[in-house]
């Protein structure tokens, strides 16, 4: 699965994409983990569609678990993509998180948009990052860059670059 017929440049480009997305997830997770007053409550309560669902998970009984799961998820996805372990699982988990962020505040016309540094309609950065994770899922390339090299049973031959 890790040795598609790709040129070295194509492989490296995909690995760079994977590491950058992982970096983004990891940093978001760390910033939240080290800020004790951070909570997703406001983001969830202001959800524009699926409001009952997001309000429900933002309730007193769930919110601390949701916050913890979110932080843990962000960090785990980050580690997976950067270090190159269980990358496909990382892609799935990352896409689920992004899908939830997207659904809470989808950039549909007519819906209120929160603060944002750009202008979006249907497509926003969450959706694009989700699509990028889909690409990574197809090409995890853990044999090119990643810890899984150490775990592979067979000695990995260095691709000729």
């Amino acid at each position: 699965m890790n040795s598609p017929n790709l040129t070295a440049i194509q492989r490296n480009a995909l690995v760079i994409l994977r590491v950058l997305i992982g970096w983004h997830f990891l940093y978001e997770g760390i910033i939240k983990a080290y800020n004790p007053s951070w909570t997703a409550k406001g983001y969830l309560l202001s959800a524009s569609i699926l409001k009952p669902f997001f309000t429900w998970i933002a309730g007193e009984s769930f919110i601390s678990t949701i916050d913890m799961l979110n932080i843990a998820g962000l960090i785990a996805v980050g580690i997976s993509l950067v270090a190159g372990i269980k990358v496909r699982w990382g892609c799935i988990a990352g896409a689920i998180l992004l899908l939830l962020y997207y659904l809470a505040h989808p950039p549909f016309s007519g819906l209120p948009q929160g603060p944002s540094e750009g202008s979006y309609w249907i497509v926003n950065k969450n959706l694009i990052e989700m699509a990028a994770l889909f690409v990574i899922y197809q090409f995890p390339l853990t044999s090119v860059f990643g810890l899984e090299i150490l775990f592979s049973k067979n000695k990995v031959t260095t691709p000729k670059i």
Binding site: I30, Y43, E60, V82, G84, L147, K155
Partner: protein, 537 residues
């Protein structure tokens, strides 16, 4: 090289690099994020420690135990009904309406909130209303279970009956003081709606009545005194966080019929069902008039216009934080610009209250800072929320249920912190929301956006508390357990005199001065200020 390859067994150095290359990236990102978040935390902690604001809700009032108090209600209109509900008595009509609302919207918590309200251990024993429909509504709704309610034709009969211990007065303004004085003199506790009085003479007479009847507990219905954030706001002022406050801005903005006092006229109303002479009381004689009866707030003869009806809320809200008392002078202007429907009270007003000797403290050299203007600006033709803002040399405080404090970019007190970029212009240095247990400083633009929308904290407890309930409870607690209500005669006196100065300035078109030593509003020779205030011109 060959040796190296062997040392790592199956993998060569290049493989190791590719296998472990992610680890330093992980370490770098982790370290960077952790140190940034950590320093943000330290900055926040530093600011909170520097400001040292004590965030506390008002103390709880005493127990409601003992013999049930027998309460009389005078005036069972819109506000009278609300006050009864706050005391635990809802009309059957309201309960039905709320049940229907709940059927249509399961999330409507109004009925649940009412039912969850603490029992105040009172009997609603007596009702007075000059309109049969309203009095009968109360009788039909509250003669239930172990509560027996009786209608009295006049308040005097009610006071003399020996059947009430305390009375809640929710009549038009011109009846507030006469009824309060009579009740106090009969030894009955009084809770009167704002404004406390309708003219200057009554304000002094009522103060005397309270003084002469120390056993009767007197409270004015400024429920804002129960706002959870006001003690915190007091502490912010005490700790001189804002420096010298030179300007305060408060507003009323409404843009609908109800907000402009265009209340519904009941089809059951007629000279047969309304005791018109009793309604008029000391007001000028006037033939029976449904508009005057139902929409009395639109005429000086019974109401007090924006200055008495609505400015008093804002004045008292600020007075409970600053305790600045009666202004030295007041100038007002305005007009009837949106609702030219025959009313004679203005629907737009701007009242400037001057406090030339007042100071909240300062940060500059002694003697440089003194004096404050308090602006109340109101319109009944637009509902854009302009917020309540206290503006000091060192900081600005937005005051509401939430409190937000900003440092002023040109502050003396925070100059060093601003220079060191530890304080940023436009980012609050302090936020307090009583809906959450904690406090917050330096928040992100996003958090501020959510907080301003009230989304971040509003539903934290999933429970709303009615401030009118708390205010009535405080009064009942003082009756039972001793103490003085937070808005009693001193506060009511200051509120009423200030409101009357505003009304007079609007009507006379000139500055109205207060003599704090002689304790009087200065009139021109031969001028009868009370006559001016009450006149329908």
């Amino acid at each position: 090289m060959a040796k190296d390859n062997n040392y790592f067994g199956r993998w060569n150095r290049r493989d190791m690099l590719k296998a472990l290359g992610g680890i330093p990236i992980l370490g770098g990102v982790w370290y960077s994020g952790a140190s940034l978040a950590g320093s943000a935390q330290r900055e926040k902690q530093f600011l909170l420690e520097t400001l040292n604001i004590k965030a506390s809700p008002p103390p709880a009032t005493g127990p409601m135990s003992g013999k049930p108090l027998r309460i009389g209600i005078i005036g069972f209109g819109i506000r009278g009904e609300q006050l009864c509900r706050a005391m635990g008595f809802a009309t059957t009509g309201w309960l039905k309406k709320m049940n229907e609302a709940l059927q249509n919207n399961p999330k409507d918590t109004r009925l649940a909130d009412f039912e969850a309200q603490e029992n105040l251990n009172i009997k609603l024993a007596a009702i007075c209303d000059v309109f049969d429909e309203r009095a009968e509504n109360a009788l039909a709704s509250f003669n239930a279970g172990d509560n027996k309610i009786k209608r009295f034709r006049t308040h005097t009969e009610m006071f003399n009956s020996g059947e009430v211990d305390a009375v809640v007065i929710a009549t038009p303004d011109h009846w507030h003081a006469p009824m309060s004085i009579e009740a106090l003199n009969a030894g009955i506790h009084v809770y009167v709606e704002k404004p406390m009085t309708h003219n200057i003479g009554e304000t002094f007479a009522l103060r005397d009545a309270v003084k002469n009847n120390p056993k009767a507990i007197f409270a004015v219905g400024h429920q804002h005194r129960q706002t959870q954030s006001f003690l915190t706001a007091q502490d912010i002022i005490k700790k001189n966080i804002l420096g010298h406050v030179s300007l305060i801005q408060t507003n009323t903005n409404r843009n609908d019929d109800n907000g402009a006092w265009q209340y519904e006229i009941s089809p059951a109303a007629s000279p047969k069902t309304i005791d018109w002479d009793l309604f008029l009381g000391n007001a000028p004689k006037e033939p029976f008039n449904l508009e005057h009866f139902f929409r009395w707030r639109k005429w000086w003869a019974y109401g007090s216009g924006l200055s008495g009806d609505l400015m008093t809320h804002d004045y008292d809200r600020v007075n409970c934080v600053l305790n600045m008392g009666i202004p030295r002078s007041v100038t007002a202007s305005g007009g009837i610009y949106t609702h030219r429907d025959g009313r004679n009270v203005p629907d737009v007003i701007h009242i400037n209250m001057e406090f030339p000797d007042f100071s909240t403290g300062g940060s500059q050299e002694a003697g440089k800072e003194k004096g404050m203007t308090f602006v109340y600006s109101a319109t009944l033709g637009n509902q854009f929320d302009r917020g309540t803002v206290l503006m000091g040399h060192d900081g600005t405080m937005e005051l509401g249920n939430r409190i937000t404090v900003y440092a002023d970019p040109r502050s003396t007190k925070y100059a060093d912190l601003i220079k060191e970029q530890r304080i940023e212009a436009g980012v609050p240095i302090y936020q307090y929301d009583p809906a959450v247990s904690g406090t917050d400083a330096v928040t992100s633009a996003t958090a501020k956006y959510f907080a301003n929308k009230g989304l971040l904290w509003t539903y934290r407890d999933g429970k709303r508390v009615d401030s009118t309930f708390l205010h009535l409870r405080e009064w009942l607690s003082c009756i039972r357990n001793g103490g003085t209500p937070s808005c009693s005669i001193k506060e009511g006196f200051e509120e009423a005199i200030t409101a009357h100065m505003g009304g007079l300035s609007y009507k006379l078109g000139r500055r109205i001065d207060w003599d704090p030593v002689a304790e009087k509003i200065i009139a021109k020779p031969g001028e009868d200020l009370d006559a001016v205030l009450l006149s329908n011109t």
